[in-house]
Structures are given as structure tokens and as C-alpha cells.
């Protein structure tokens, strides 16, 4: 169960801007959750400062911290929204 996979995380707004890229790649162990994803993302200095205020979407829906993240999922980091 220590198999690892690589996943691309979509970035928007301030995250996209500070990372200088619309995506960032992280490595996760099989069986990982959103919580594990956050840990992996916190290693990115451009993202870490505004990680706490951000939500996570998996396959285009907001998900809880305990939600699994699997290989092939569409994963996005959602900074505070500001529509309207």
C-alpha cells in the first residue's frame, strides 16, 4: 500500500499567480485523502501562505478533508471565491 501516484492540481487566482503556473504536480500515496493533499501542497512556498483559506474540489465538487483522492481525479485548489 505504499504505492505512490502523481496528480496535477489546478490553481486559480492568487495561487495561479504566485505559483506562476495554472497547475502544480504533487505526489501522493495510494489511499490518500484531501488532508494528505493539503500536506503535500504545503511544501510549495508559493501556495503554503494562502492554503488554509482555500477549499478543495475533486471532480468539480467541493469535498471534505476526509474525501479520498485517487489517480486520475480532477483536483483543484479553490481560493476564496469572489463572483458577482
Amino acid at each position: 500500500m505504499s504505492q505512490r501516484f502523481s496528480i496535477q492540481v489546478r490553481l486559480f487566482g492568487r495561487h495561479r499567480e504566485s505559483a506562476g503556473s495554472p497547475t502544480v504536480r504533487v505526489e501522493l500515496a495510494a489511499g490518500s485523502t484531501v488532508r494528505d493533499l493539503r500536506s503535500a501542497l504545503s511544501a510549495h512556498p508559493a501556495i503554503q501562505p494562502s492554503l488554509v483559506g482555500a477549499a478543495v474540489a475533486v471532480n468539480r465538487a467541493y469535498v471534505s478533508e476526509s474525501e479520498p483522492v485517487s489517480e486520475g481525479d480532477e483536483v483543484a485548489l479553490i481560493p476564496p471565491v469572489a463572483g458577482g
Binding site: R14, E74, I78, A82, G84
Partner: protein, 164 residues
């Protein structure tokens, strides 16, 4: 978008929901929405303001997570149709770099009686400010800019909860 003669108690209705880079305005939805049974049509336009918090704004840059935003906007419009006595809900959100006076949001609602239209219209706007994955950066005359937060990010919770 066809106009439909829905019976008085119908919950089914017309939904238009899209995130677009194209110019939007309330006029077309206002003309198309509402059947002969509807006594009220309410149209909201959100427009880019030329100043905010005392600073002169030269443009608002809107950015969306398009694939998710389309789905969230359709969800919100569908919810308004279910929860309020309205027969049609149309909502369009524009993205891109928009100058002051430009329309960034259109919400049009038709209903038998006016109270439901006001309730549904506010519901759509409040929910999209809370949930729609759209961001905006204010750009100032001096070339600087700032990302805005219109609301705390949707709490990271199960999507069923979030849809409530």
C-alpha cells in the same frame, strides 16, 4: 430558450446558466423569459464599478474554473427554481478583463407573483457569491492589483451539505 406555458403549480421550468467570455446584458433574457401566466420578471445586472474602498479601479479581471463553474451555476439556478415559486431562472456570469460599467453578472427570474422573484433572485446572487469558483482581481490606475474576497471560500465540506 422557448417560453413555456407551465401550469400554476408547476415546479419544472426554464433554466439558463452559463459562464462566458462574451458580452452579457439583461435585455435578452428579460425579453425571452416569462410565460403569459407570469406577472413578474425581475432582472439584475451586476456591473464593474469605477472605484472601490476609495481607490480608482481601471478594470476587474475575472477568472473562473470554467468546467466547475458551469455546473455550480446550473445547480444554483435549479435550486432557485425548486425552492421558490418561480417559472424561469436565467443567470450569466462573464469572465475576462472588464472595464468599469461593463456587466459582469445577469440574473433574470420570472414568476406568477413578485415576492418569489425577489426571493429567488437574491438567493441566486448570494449563493453564487458563496460557491461559484470565480475570482476577481482589481486593477488600479498605477498598474498594481489586488485579489478580492467577496466571501469566505465555501467551507470544505461534503458537497451535499454545500448544496444546501
Amino acid at each position: 430558450m422557448a417560453e413555456r406555458g407551465v401550469p400554476e403549480t408547476a415546479t419544472a421550468g426554464v433554466v439558463v446558466a452559463e459562464v462566458t467570455v462574451a458580452r452579457i446584458e439583461a435585455t435578452d433574457l428579460l425579453r425571452d423569459m416569462g410565460s403569459a401566466a407570469d406577472g413578474a420578471v425581475l432582472a439584475f445586472e451586476g456591473r464593474v464599478r469605477d472605484h472601490n474602498a476609495g481607490r480608482r479601479v481601471s478594470a476587474l479581471h475575472y477568472e473562473a474554473y470554467r468546467e466547475m463553474a458551469d455546473a455550480v451555476l446550473a445547480d444554483i439556478a435549479g435550486e432557485a427554481l425548486e425552492r421558490f415559486a418561480v417559472t424561469a431562472v436565467g443567470v450569466r456570469h462573464r469572465v475576462g478583463s472588464l472595464k468599469p460599467r461593463t456587466v459582469s453578472l445577469v440574473v433574470v427570474v420570472a414568476s406568477r407573483h413578485r415576492a418569489a422573484a425577489y426571493g429567488a433572485s437574491l438567493h441566486v446572487i448570494n449563493e453564487l457569491k458563496r460557491r461559484l469558483p470565480v475570482w476577481k482581481k482589481e486593477e488600479y490606475d498605477d498598474g498594481s492589483g489586488q485579489w478580492l474576497e467577496s466571501a469566505p471560500a465555501a467551507v470544505s465540506g461534503p458537497s451535499e451539505e454545500d448544496a444546501r
